[in-house]
Amino acid sequence: MWYYNATIIKTPKSLTVNGVTYPPAVFRNADLLSSLGVVPYREERVDQRYYWTGALTVDTSGDEAIGTYTQTDRDVDKLKEGMLDTINSQVASKQGSIDWYWARASKGGKAVPADIQTYADTIYTEQATKESEVAALTDLAGIIEYENRAYTETRKVKHSAEDGTETYGPETDTHNREINMLQHWTANPTDEVDPAFVSLVAD
């Protein structure tokens, strides 16, 4: 991105300076851009999940222009409403994907497998837990932490043989991850097993 004459230029376009119009390719020539008074531009990012983005201020004092938006905290209660909606939709999706086990059983088919029954119960339990946790949140910082909780994940390193065979480990890698607790649920026992997974632990 670039800045010229109080205008943010996101993508190359024809540029008129001193009555001369330059083609978009001018943006591939940093020296020429500089001589024309066009400077690189970047913005300080606002996480719009949590803040209202308002007016823009551009600092042109340095070699690059830096845009900063005013940011205002979003309403905590409204965010919590959205979080509860997310929990409910997650539960609906997860329970919906296994409802057919009960439909089959009710029509005289196979009984619901024990692991599926346990999974269904667990999801409801986790739903109640998450709803309580969300209800207990009182400020924006708490919401941000809940949706971006720090975890460490350990995964086995994947090895690929020349014949295409893949094996995992014994070496492992660890990664820092930020987990949205609204999306973090016990896995469905029928899900494909992730062969590289070792552990995921809250920091």
């Binding site: 001193n18 999940r49 551009v58």
Partner: protein, 1032 residues
């Protein structure tokens, strides 16, 4: 690198283009707003025009407001239940389209007009979509003289929402107009293109009105351009305020400010002021211009010239009354001059002291021509001045009405400032800018009415290259395949997606078979790993059904080739969070390359062509990568269930929704915004880069409708002389009537029956240059009945056996090679053999009818099972496909198709007609799909906006072959079906579909189009190729 001014560069394309749009992400509560501070020009008339590309559709209960008036009445224009609503001044005034608009792959043009004084009450509110006036449901009419709320003084006007918190629009908007006081028509904003599409045009001559505006989202500042000529520059040799001043050396130096009405002071009020230093080196030469608004030899409005004295000269608006005042500044001394117009009285202040009051009346402002304002040069004899100026300010008010002390600090910009030039920079700088006006802003009004909007939760990264004149590939939220598919959660203009289950997947709105394409992928999830995927939409059925894709996430890519997994691809390096992954898909040579942060994996070289150096996957691993075989589109899937989510960039946003700083790298056509430079010859997936279709669809296929008259009549409007016309009475039971130029006009066949051809002379009597002529037969022209005719162009001439490649069995044909259609006639031999079809490629669908005797309509279709040459379908029956040797178990070739001795296809003593089709990009498609048994049905990509679709379930009996078209159903949902296998009247209850800009989608679970697990074949022809199509 040498750069030429753009005047030396040929224009890339003709016509008006829209360079950008604004992305509204409803998750961010994005919107723009302002509060009207003036009464409207006319409250009983307005026009709203906007181009819209929809994002997520969410639930049917969500409202997506395009324009809102936040008042007690809360007027709005919105999408609700996928229909367009105009809600006016209270609950009694709702105008709702009958059509639904849920095509997320292309752009709609929406125009709403309001004129409560229109003498025809039904015309007081109109909604146009893509230039077509919509049928509206309403319970009332607007009373004459009713004011609208959108332009009402004191009302909050919102674009993209109801207010800060509710009913946010999701998607893209471009070229937004609100006209206060005039009800314009759609064709004031758009026009029909060469392919029948509706496209934007340059809007001129509009009167915006007091509360009108035009938002182009260009983010440009609204300021005067200042052009420096000669060696005009900033100099630190002299300075009054700041470190420098403007210096003119008297030899070709001057500044130009384009003529603008602001500078005329037509209200009789204004101020021109500056600091002035006259060097002692100046000699008394006539007319050395310091400040002038006249470039030639005509009369000036205002000029300051250095002569033996310093002359301030004014003219009144008539141009004849000239006032001169001569002063004599001291050499080498900074002096402040201020010319002030106060209610028509002009006064000159020098260093804050009134020095002259001009005698003429300037109540109507200064005389003006069309000449620009020049600083440092006179107009009449082009003499240049040698000296210094500092702090030039022009204002639209009388800043000084009495003696004052001139500011010795930088002049300030305020609401009255029209032009402000500071000088406080390095010696020799040639950059001159207007420090007044409006800073760059996404909500800037470009109409000249200064009705600027405030952006809310929008940033510079939301300005997008996706536009009505260059539509970019995104993920497709209605791109649903088989029944285990569950859609992801999309946002950021359908570029960001998260999945909701391990089997979920999302794919793009554009798919390609040939060419070289580049796109990028990024994940915004910290600690997560982005994934590259691409699907072959011809064979991929979704989820755990038949898989046909390539997925790369570090290590060995996952490759499924039409259901078969391959592990032969080389391993790729690991990548990690915030990496930008690149994909170069070479469908000319059959190779896919991947990169991490601009470095190609495995030392890949996407420009290596046939050698495929370092390719991640080649056509030897996934056979459908070969040129012209698959139909590839960007995709996202994550079988692990981790659902990291990705953000796609097909060249419309290298900021990845603000997560990175846009880098602005373009493809070889100077299109796109990529984070890294695309490899040479690899292009962005956007309509400007799509190839032009081989044919203009409407010149090769067209549908016409008419009412019968039980007499004779000529049906026109086909646009060409048809070679095959297929007629069906719509409103009651009548047989289908197929007439072709090879058999002749008095020879009709009926797809609903096995009968031999009817040689009646009272049906089609001639094929004409723009249609055909009818006699009075009730099957084609019965008074009081309605009819549809589908028409194809072949060759308008029948070629003999020496004119094209023959098979074992002699044939004649009329052919349209470019359009992939031929009509072939042959006589049966009762010997297995081949028949020349006259086309350049193998037909994908062949319909054969023994027309001299009763027999079935035999159908070969390339999508009918994995071995279609061993299968046999009947167009006249509801049978499922049967394993049969009728096609001699031999697939058609580029010159012939094969038959055995089955009576429906090859018996001695019988004559046969064969209609042969193959797909032509952007015009026709012979394909297949699998039903999902869901009202949110299977999406079928055709690469064009269909005009005609024939569907036939192939894997189970009991279903007819419905035909849909865009002439009988001008909008979605498309419900009017005629079954080729029966003679009943048009049905509207079952088998509903949406015709879309790039394909079609089943919208219910009827067995004829969308049973779960049902295999369907189809034949489709285009209304508009996707390169040009509007959303439907």
């Amino acid at each position: 690198m040498a750069l030429l001014p753009s005047s030396a560069i040929p224009s890339a394309s003709g016509g008006y283009t829209i360079d950008q749009s604004l992305r509204f992400n409803d998750d961010d509560d994005a919107s723009l707003n302002k509060t009207w501070g003036s009464s409207p020009t006319e409250a009983n008339r307005f026009t709203f025009s906007v181009w819209v590309k929809r994002g997520v559709l969410d639930s049917s209960t969500a409202q997506y407001w395009l324009l809102g008036a936040k008042s007690s009445a809360e007027s709005n224009i919105k999408f609700y239940e996928d229909k367009l609503y105009l809600h006016l001044t209270g609950s009694n005034y709702d105008f709702i389209t009958d059509a639904v608009f849920r095509d997320t792959s292309a752009w709609y043009h929406i125009v709403v007009t309001y004129d409560s004084d229109d003498g025809t009450p039904a015309d007081r509110c109109k909604i146009y979509v893509n230039g077509v006036r919509q049928s509206l449901s309403t319970s009332t009419t607007i009373p004459s003289g009713t004011d609208n709320e959108f332009t009402k003084n004191g009302t909050e006007c919102w674009i993209g929402s109801h207010d800060a918190s509710n009913f946010h629009f999701d998607g893209y908007m471009a070229d937004v107009y609100l006209i206060d006081g005039t009800a314009y028509d759609a064709d004031d904003f758009g026009e029909e293109g060469d392919y029948g599409e509706w496209k934007p045009k340059e809007v001129t001559g509009l009167t915006y009105g007091t509360n009108g505006f035009y938002l182009d989202f260009s983010n440009t500042a609204i300021k005067h351009d200042i052009t420096a000529s000669g060696d005009a520059q900033h100099s630190t040799s002299e300075n009054k305020i700041g470190s420098s001043s403007l210096y003119f050396d008297g030899s070709g130096d001057y500044l130009t400010v384009p003529n603008h009405e602001d500078l005329w002071f037509s209200s009789g009020n204004g101020t021109i002021e500056f600091w002035f230093l006259d060097p002692s080196v100046n000699t008394a030469v006539n007319n050395k211009g310091v400040f002038t608004t006249e470039a030639g030899t005509g009369s000036t409005s205002f000029d300051v010239q250095y002569d033996s004295g310093f002359t301030f000269r004014l003219r009144t608006t008539g141009g004849t009354n000239e006032d001169n005042y001569v002063t004599d500044p001291s050499d080498d001394t900074w002096t402040h001059y201020a010319l002030v117009l106060n209610n028509g009285v002009a006064k000159l202040y020098v260093d804050g002291t009134l020095e002259n009051t001009y005698s003429n009346d300037y109540s109507d402002g200064l005389y003006h021509t069309t000449d620009d304002l020049r600083i440092g040069r006179s107009g009449s004899n082009h003499d240049y001045w040698n000296g210094y100026l500092d702090e030039i300010r022009i204002s639209n008010n009388a800043r000084y009405t009495t003696t004052f002390t001139p500011s010795t600090t930088a002049f300030t910009d305020d609401d009255n400032t029209l032009l402000l030039i500071h000088s406080n920079t390095s010696d020799g700088s040639t950059t001159f800018t207007d420090s007044s006006g409006v800073e760059g802003n996404l909500g800037n009004d470009q109409s000249g009415e200064d009705n600027h909007f405030t952006p809310n939760n929008l940033t510079a990264s939301d300005q997008m290259l996706d536009s009505p004149t260059n539509n970019f590939c995104t993920f497709n939220p209605i791109g649903k395949l088989h029944d285990s598919y569950t859609s992801g959660t999309m946002s950021e203009g359908n570029l960001k997606t998260h999945l909701s289950s391990p089997d979920a997947e999302n794919f793009g709105t554009m798919a390609q078979s040939t060419g070289k394409w580049y796109w990028e992928v990024y994940t915004a999830v910290s600690g997560a790993i982005p994934i590259i995927a691409t699907f072959d939409l011809k064979t991929h059925k979704g989820g755990s059904s038949t898989r046909s894709y390539i997925s790369v996430s570090g290590g060995t890519p996952t490759v499924y080739d039409n259901g078969s997994e391959s592990t032969a691809a080389p391993s790729t390096p690991s990548h990690s969070a915030t990496d930008v992954l690149g994909v170069a898909l070479d469908l000319d040579n059959g190779a896919l390359y991947t990169s991490i942060n601009g470095t190609w994996s495995n030392s890949g070289d996407p420009t290596s062509g046939a050698s495929k150096t370092g390719a991640t996957v080649t056509s030897s691993v996934h056979t459908r990568l070969a040129s012209g075989v698959g139909e590839w589109t960007p995709a996202y899937m994550d079988g692990s269930g981790n659902d990291y989510g990705i953000i796609l960039n097909c060249g419309q946003d290298s900021s990845f929704a603000g997560n990175k700083t846009s880098q602005g790298n373009q493809d070889g056509n100077e299109i796109g915004d990529f984070y890294y430079t695309p490899p040479t010859d690899f292009l962005a997936l956007c309509t400007s880069n799509l190839p032009d279709p081989a044919v203009i669809p409407s010149e090769h296929f067209n549908t016409v409708l008419w009412g019968g008259n039980s007499s004779t009549q000529s049906i026109t409007g086909v646009g060409f002389q048809p070679d095959l016309t297929w007629i069906k009475q719509r409103n009651s039971t009548q047989w289908h009537q197929l007439t072709d130029s090879v058999r002749g006009t008095s020879s009709q066949l009926n797809t609903n029956d096995i009968a031999a051809q009817d040689t009646a002379t009272d049906k089609i009597t001639s094929f004409d240059s723009d249609g055909f002529s009818l006699d009075s037969h009730e099957g084609v022209n019965d008074s009081g009945d309605t009819y549809v005719g589908w028409n194809w162009l072949a060759g308008n001439a029948t070629l003999g056996t020496g004119s094209f490649t023959q098979g074992d069995i002699a044939s004649t044909c009329s052919r349209n090679v470019d359009a992939g259609f031929s009509i072939v006639k042959y006589s049966g031999t009762s010997s297995t053999g081949t028949i020349g079809h006259g086309l350049s490629k193998a037909p994908e669908m062949i319909i054969v009818k023994r027309y001299t005797a009763t027999d079935d309509w035999a159908v070969y279709h390339s999508g009918n099972t994995s071995a279609p040459e061993t299968e046999f379908l009947k167009l006249n029956e509801t049978n499922a496909t049967a394993d049969d040797t009728n096609w001699n178990d031999t697939a058609p070739t580029s010159s012939v198709f094969s038959v055995n001795t089955y009576g429906a296809m090859n018996t001695t003593g019988s004559d046969y007609i064969a209609y042969c089709f193959h797909s032509v990009d952007g015009y026709s498609k012979v394909g297949s799909y699998t039903g999902n048994g869901n009202a949110d049905g299977t999406f079928v990509y055709t690469g064009f906006r269909p005009a005609y679709v024939l569907i036939k379930r192939s894997n189970s009996a009991g279903q007819g072959a419905p035909i849909f078209d865009s002439a009988r159903d001008e909008y979605n949902m498309t419900v009017k079906r005629l079954n080729s296998n029966d003679s009943v009247a048009e049905l509207t209850t079952d088998g509903n579909i949406d015709l879309l800009s790039n394909g079609f989608k089943a919208r219910n679970t009827d067995g004829s189009v969308n049973t779960s697990g049902g295999e369907y074949i189809y034949l489709a022809f285009a209304e508009t190729p996707f390169k040009h199509s509007n959303a439907r």
